[in-house]
């Protein structure tokens, strides 16, 4: 078993109204930042996961996303499986 570094990105589903994203976009504009396109606000969940392979780690992380970490009605998720914790960069 190896310890993998998992990063889960949860974002609002495309086409779903994101008032939080809009509010952040409006605040950036009023601060004087021009040229900012649509803003979307999501969340990042980070944890280490013991697994026997990278594929196995990914599969379990995706199951966690489907069951808890993301709500499929309103959110999309993306899983990144990183090098085992403690390994050289």
């Amino acid at each position: 078993m190896t310890e993998y570094g998992i990063e889960v990105r949860v974002t609002p589903r495309r086409g779903i109204l994101d008032p939080q994203g809009k509010a952040v976009g409006g605040a950036l504009a009023s601060l004087g930042f021009s040229g900012v396109g649509e803003v979307h606000v999501g969340r990042l969940i980070v944890f280490s996961l013991a697994a026997s392979s990278e594929a196995g780690a990914r599969e379990r992380a995706e199951a966690m996303c489907r069951q808890l970490l993301a709500n499929p009605v309103t959110e999309d998720f993306a899983v990144t499986v990183g090098a085992p914790a403690g390994s050289a960069p």
Binding site: I16, L17, P19, Q20, A23, Q67, L68, L69, N71, V73, T74
Partner: protein
Amino acid sequence: MRIGVVTFPGSNCDYDCYKAVQEGLGAEAVFLWHKEHDLQGVDAVFLPGGFSYGDYLRAGAIAAHSPIMREVIAFASAGGPVAGVCNGFQILCEAGLLPGALMRNRSLKFRSRPVYLRVEKSQPPFTSEYEAGQVLQVPIAHGEGCYTADPDVLDQLEAEGRVAFRYCDREGRR
């Protein structure tokens, strides 16, 4: 009649619910602790309002996976009546007992005020004491009260007459 009121860490309307069952319905109320697997032979289950698990991750997301919810889901699947109020409603959606999800209010504001609801149908188990079209005034207090579902799900809910209450004005108009 015995009605169970579930308490999750962070539920704050469980006692209101308990009192409403006892005084409003004249029924026996029992608290059901989230970690228990025993529904104590209740005839119906109420999931109360509050901030279970501090609304961490998503409102109701963690409570939906509490040990008691496995029993509540089995109870509901067998035809047992289950009602969710506010956070309880969020939990029912997260648990998959109801379709759709509750999202952040479009205004991004926390809404705490009385609103009017129109009873759409008078039918057991929950609205048989009302008349269809009756207007109720109830308090809301929520930051994530925007019900969302895919268009085909919304169409199906309407077609099957599954909307129990609708927001309206004092005269019951939309």
